[in-house]
Symmetry: C2
């Protein structure tokens, strides 16, 4: 099998390309017309003609002026394993006319991607309209079969990655972002892929450096553990190794802008750190603290044991009611809620985070949380914080902060004023922006529906266009100029200016010399005659690299680990000129073609378009 | 294993419940907090307490006043096969604190849904806010673990089904709808599940009656085949059985409102009829008719053979240019396009449908199509039609129709004026509505992005709320009244009025007597005191049926085949009072509670909510 040969070649460089993450991604995950076309090509003996397709999008999503490219790895996984099973071939035979000749099915039987070459921009790059994200070269019938799955895999991944970048941009670097969207995602893998491509959110669990630090903490001395207790905002649940009961759950001292998700399946697949505590149902499943039977809790250092943690909590509630600064804020707190918080703390004394809005945030949730947190504090534990899931998040977070500070002052609990506040409840770019404008005390945001369904714009319009066949450039015309394709097997470059910002992307014909640092080059708008600019690049970056060499001897790029993709993404986002990135009226980034390519496009256009006749 | 016992029970009634369609749907497809809660319940020895959860949504999507319920079968498939593997248990151990006790993992090892009962509204039903779609009863820890996957499975399926209903409503019953959305879907199974739940679109390929008709046509005499050739708009590619070369592709004589998709994987999984021909790339991959080497084509009845079909096509182009009625409409047609159409017709003479907008619809695409179609007609074949994928679809479809009629008249080809016109290109409810208002000649619509991504509203906000534990009703309060949950294990009924329309859905406490036909009953808005109405139902339908009896002896509903779901869906949509269904300012359908339940809700509410204190 040729595929085996090619995969063997990849193995030589130390990498096996596994199959797609979602087992539903098979060569049948395509439109019927790819098979009818494949048959027509085969019947006309045209199926082996060498074609070049560009995969690109026409417009940045969410009213912005940039896009984050994601999904490449899944594309290469599909391509590396593209092979029809006998069962699949039987089904194709079933859905095609009975008149289709047997030879076609024999052809499908031998078909793979060993003659296909794939060039792509690095995953995690900031990308722009019209510039090919992928260039697929190969026998036209095969390339055509790849169209639907490749577009599917790139579209949603890039859309969510871009959405994630935009949410990070508004939230700011200092906030922790949590992805909570699985339940509202468009199907199971809508949720799973969304969790994977939160590239712009920061450190990812599969990051080796991150893993190393974790190991360090896992094996840490009690001193390090103590130190880590003072790093409030970022913590991770880590295992101690099977069977042992040593408590190794700990806070993680690192940059805050980490990507964290709630989706356990995604955590398992991609090593994404997971987070989650309890829901409203948990709170309302308790009736009163009397329900709690096992009330004992060992102190954090194991030196002593509290036999009645429930009473200890109640002592704190009583203290609040007698306190000068807290008196009057609340009367009776909800007993069902108090019971649930107490019970949760008994189960997870080192990671107590409470959802405080089941009954009433200020009159019940916050005092109940504080009573449990201070009882934990008596035993040497530090509570993580609260989550607000409804109401006026700006107001409530400020009020909660005031309460925490009053508790710190009144009862002399250092650091209690800085107890973590997480906010959730249908957050999106607009609500984050509004929170910023109002002022708030939120440390972490849980973002769900709006992030994973890309609610503001549910699709990215990636297309897959034929640009060359048998070395003949092809163009797709349209009355809508933005839909005219840019012909030719092209090369693309990003040109950087004096201040280090990317200035313009330029596409050239495949055989043109590449732009040179310090050499002036004319960049033309592909369709607007009057828009052109000279650029003297300070740095030139070729965008398309070979990720699947097929049977060519093209040197190929490794599929990078998620860590590198994330690093690239964050670095590129940071390198952009700020006016391209702002939410309101961002400046479009320039995408251009060389003077030579410009002339050729317009020659071809005139050649193909019929001359009208007014009557 | 208890699960095996339960499955065996299902087997007795002749049905095995297979696993979820998407292999990524496992017990790990859930939020981390379901596991932390499960642990906390287990630690408090509360995990076996019997809880009742309602799964419902709060607001109809797309600005409408109805929703179509879908996704039930996938929920039951998950529940019937809910069992942790050792690998999954190891992963859960890894992500939970090391302090979690071993007994919990033993508990997970034995956990299944044998003690869970699932009551649901029938899949395909028209449903309304607040009324439970599913009621899950069972040990609280297990029910809680089901929350995320059930909500995920119902959310998107119901959203797409509703979107499909809305598109069918605007398009009208007489039009054929084609789902083309795979490439833009939110991930691979976003596309696959979307194709599955086009319930309101009509006949589905898995319909036994449909399959029977297909068999009939497959084995049909030439007479039947000839007859079927005259049914223009609906055709299906059917197999002749392996190895034989008999042409069995044929037109399908049936109602037009069939659901058809392009997604081959969905076709294989759910028996959905598939459709598709060729893309713009196919057209531009040809340079000129000179490329075509094998030019021969047998006549439809096999009696003769045309040695040079390319020349036959050219003869027709020449005739057009000499014609009185067509002269002047076009000059030179595009030769690349003509070659592609000719080549496609040689491969699929019985199903020639051409995409006519690659260069210029009226000056090239339509005349090229007609030339090939008439050449086919000379050999006894009937072309299927054209597809328009850009430009002014209303105008172009009318112009195309005029051209077809002129051809019919001028060259005496009966029926040619009725050649099929399919339109695609970012169609949605608004564009379909605009087309209707302008007047058009489109027979079929290909709908993609807007349908499968539910672009107009990318998520349905299904929630999963605890309503009872240990026979104690529970309520979730909120400052936003629309978010207050309706407590108690309830029963729900749909009450029908004199004219046969559903009048109101009413929820009652579990032990209340059910509403009776002809007996007056007071229906109260659950939260608005002043909104209430007496109803004398002419028909009473209990909404929740048992689909998974767990270890109870509740009689259970079979999971119906897709055909029945579709039938129910169409019947229910048709039975709704038209003012609930209209696009502009639809009347809200009434959702109510019994007087007794109303009183109880408000008693509980006052009981749980703290009394404020103004300062």
């Amino acid at each position: 099998m040729v595929v085996e040969k090619v995969i063997a070649k990849w193995n030589c460089s130390g990498r096996v390309v596994e199959g797609p993450t979602n087992p539903m991604v098979t060569p049948l995950l395509t439109d019927l017309y790819q098979f009818t076309m494949a048959y027509a090509y085969w019947k006309a003996n045209k199926h082996q003609e060498r074609a070049v397709f560009d995969l690109y999008f026409r417009k940045n999503p969410f009213g912005g002026e940039y896009t984050v490219f994601a999904g490449l790895e899944e594309c290469i996984r599909l391509i590396a394993n593209f092979k029809f099973t006998e069962d699949e071939i039987s089904f194709i035979r079933e859905i095609l006319p009975g008149s289709c000749e047997d030879g076609f099915f024999d052809y499908l039987r031998g078909l793979d991607c060993s003659e296909v070459e794939v060039y792509a921009i690095a995953e995690g790059s900031v990308v722009f309209p019209k510039v090919p994200l992928l260039r697929i070269e190969g026998p036209i019938a095969v390339a055509q079969l790849l169209e639907t799955p490749l577009v599917n895999l790139v579209n949603f991944a890039s859309l969510v990655a871009t959405n994630a970048a935009r949410h990070r941009f508004v939230a700011g670097k200092s906030k922790q972002l949590l992805e909570f969207g699985l339940r509202r995602a468009q199907g199971p893998d809508g949720g799973i892929s969304a969790s994977k491509v939160l590239l712009p959110w920061g450190v990812n669990g599969s990051d080796p450096a991150f893993r190393r630090d974790l190991k360090l903490i896992q094996g840490a001395s009690s001193k390090l553990r103590k130190l880590s207790r003072f790093t409030r905002s970022l913590y991770l649940i880590v295992p101690s190794g099977k069977g042992t009961k040593t408590e190794t759950r700990t806070f993680f001292k690192a940059e805050k802008n980490i990507s964290v998700a709630s989706n356990v399946a995604a955590g398992k697949l991609f090593g994404i750190p997971l987070r989650g505590t309890h829901s409203h149902a948990f709170v309302s499943s308790y009736m009163s603290p009397d329900e709690i039977i096992d009330k004992s809790l060992q102190s954090a250092d194991g030196s002593s044991s509290c036999e009645d943690f429930v009473s200890l909590v109640q002592t704190w509630i009583n203290k609040f009611q007698l306190s000068n600064s807290l008196r009057g804020i609340f009367g009776e707190t909800n007993q069902s809620e108090l019971a649930a918080f107490t019970s949760y703390a008994l189960a997870f004394p080192r990671s107590f985070l409470a959802l405080v809005d089941t009954y009433d945030v200020m009159r019940s949730g916050i005092p109940n949380f504080c009573a449990v947190a201070l009882a934990l504090n008596d035993l040497g534990y530090k509570a993580v914080g609260i989550r607000l899931d409804s109401g006026d998040l700006a107001y409530l977070s400020c009020e909660a902060r005031k309460f925490f500070s009053a508790v710190e002052k009144e009862f002399g609990v250092p650091g209690f004023g800085k107890t973590g506040i997480t906010a959730s409840n249908d957050l999106n770019e607009e609500t984050l922006d509004a929170l910023n404008k109002q002022g708030h005390e939120v440390d972490s945001y849980g973002i769900g529906t709006y992030l994973v369904t890309c609610y503001a714009q549910a699709a990215l319009g990636c297309v897959f266009k034929l640009v060359e066949i048998n070395n003949q450039p092809r163009i797709k015309l349209s009355e809508d100029v933005s839909k005219v394709s840019i012909p030719c097997k092209k090369r693309s470059y990003r040109l950087y200016g004096r201040e280090g910002y990317p200035l313009v992307d330029i596409m050239t014909g495949g055989n043109e010399p590449s732009p040179k640092v310090g050499e002036r080059i004319l960049c033309r708008h592909p369709f607007n005659e009057s828009k052109r600019a000279y650029v003297v690049p300070q740095q030139v970056e070729e965008l398309l690299k070979c990720y699947w060499p097929g049977s060519s001897d093209e040197p190929r790029e490794d599929l990078p680990p998620l860590k590198d993709i994330r690093d690239r993404c964050i670095k590129q986002l940071e390198r952009m000129r700020p006016d391209h990135m702002r939410r309101l009226n961002p400046t479009p980034y320039k995408v251009s073609v060389s003077a030579k390519l410009y002339d050729f496009i317009h020659f071809l256009w005139l050649n193909e378009a019929p001359v009208g006749e007014l009557q």
